[in-house]
């Protein structure tokens, strides 16, 4: 372990400490922008593209980790990002930022509903936004896919994951339980190969 391996391609990501306020504020923005759907796609856009806090590789693996673990995926992602930059305080800041305003909005709507029997008539608006939000999710797949699915074996893993979890609606744990060990083995081989070249 005395020899440290130089990073293959040093990611151009932020390594400084990010303030708790900035963390909370960013997740509040992500939550509010996602009105209508596409929360993961908004998270990637802000965290990877706008803020540059992580590269795509780290974001994607974190997202998968968040899917496997219990809890809402987006709350888990907030915990991941907060913890990564500022430990437990950061995690509290990001989760607080993600949930506070949405909780207040949802509660306001619920009070109106239970006391005045008023349901917000946003169904038509949401129909339009939901259709566009799907586009945001698909564009995230296309953008990252162009980078990570070039390798034919990677493409096979991607297609199989889509078929299993999408078309066939198989349980996530079954899909990941089958594909992840093979993919990690492939990743291990690939990492060793690139390290040798470097």
């Amino acid at each position: 372990m005395s020899e440290t391996v130089p990073p293959i391609d040093a990611p151009k990501v932020v390594r400084d400490k990010i303030s708790l306020w900035e963390l909370g504020k960013t997740f509040n923005d992500i939550a509010l922008m996602s009105f209508g759907g596409g929360l993961s796609a908004w998270s990637r856009r802000i965290i990877v593209e706008v803020k540059g806090w992580m590269d795509d590789e780290e974001f994607l693996s974190a997202l998968t980790l968040c899917r496997v673990m219990p809890g809402a995926n987006q709350v888990n992602l907030a915990v991941y990002v907060g913890t990564r930059f500022r430990g437990i305080a950061g995690a509290i800041a990001t989760v607080f930022g993600l949930c506070l305003v949405p909780v207040l909005i949802a509660l306001g709507l619920a009070v109106a509903y239970f006391h005045y029997n008023a349901v917000p008539d946003v169904e038509k608006i949401l129909k339009g936004m939901a259709a566009a939000a799907v586009g945001l999710t698909l564009s995230m797949g296309l953008k990252t896919g162009a980078k990570f699915l070039k390798d034919p074996i990677a493409l096979v893993f991607g297609v199989l994951a889509f078929l299993g979890a999408g078309l066939l609606r198989m349980p996530l744990l079954l899909v990941l339980g089958t594909l992840a060990p093979l993919a990690i083995w492939w990743g291990y081989r690939k990492y060793l190969a690139t390290r040798k070249k470097a």
Binding site: V79, Y80, G135, L136
Partner: protein
């Protein structure tokens, strides 16, 4: 009534840990308990509260806030939210620390490289599943397709596109 808080903590605390794969996986159990077992709300109210939680921004798991509110007022809302967030959140915190502490390890790189293509497949899968639920007409599919190309190929702020999509929906065009 006086056991409500204990029931809230017990129900959402356990669902928090059981919600592997996301909050949607425990919705049926949440429905069964809050409607049939604890009688906090009617079937119709559960469906409406679900619609409200979907309409509000942020994670859709915040439906628990609304169930907690109906069960025990504002304090119930707070307790339900914390009970749902804290157990899974703590577990995620521990895993993240562990994952970060091994950031130079070979297995960390192997997992990161290996999971990327699967993650992308899952992104397409969720886009597919949501589009089946969200797009009810061919015009909605066209809107999805146009939005996808704009988000993918241009630098136009997505909020502008979402605003236009909201208008299109408002005027009943999809």
């Amino acid at each position: 009534m006086k056991y409500n808080f204990l029931h809230i903590i017990y129900l959402f605390g356990s669902l928090s840990i059981l919600s592997i794969g996301g909050g949607n996986t425990v919705l049926p159990e949440m429905h069964r308990k809050s409607v049939d077992a604890y009688h906090w709300m009617t079937d119709k109210q559960f469906a409406d509260v679900f619609a409200i939680s979907q309409a509000a921004p942020g994670p859709s798991i915040l439906i628990v806030t609304l169930i907690g509110y109906k069960a025990a007022g504002y304090a119930g809302a707070l307790v339900a939210t914390l009970a749902m967030l804290i157990p899974a959140g703590l577990l995620m915190y521990v895993i993240t620390r562990f994952w970060q502490s091994a950031s130079e390890a070979t297995w960390h790189h192997a997992v990161e490289l290996g999971l990327a293509p699967i993650a992308i497949g899952l992104v397409f899968a969720s886009g597919y599943v949501v589009s089946k639920a969200a797009d009810h007409s061919w015009r909605a599919y066209v809107l999805t397709a146009i939005a996808t190309v704009i988000f993918w190929k241009t630098k136009i702020n997505p909020l502008i596109v979402m605003g236009i999509a909201a208008l299109i929906g408002y005027f009943g065009l999809v």
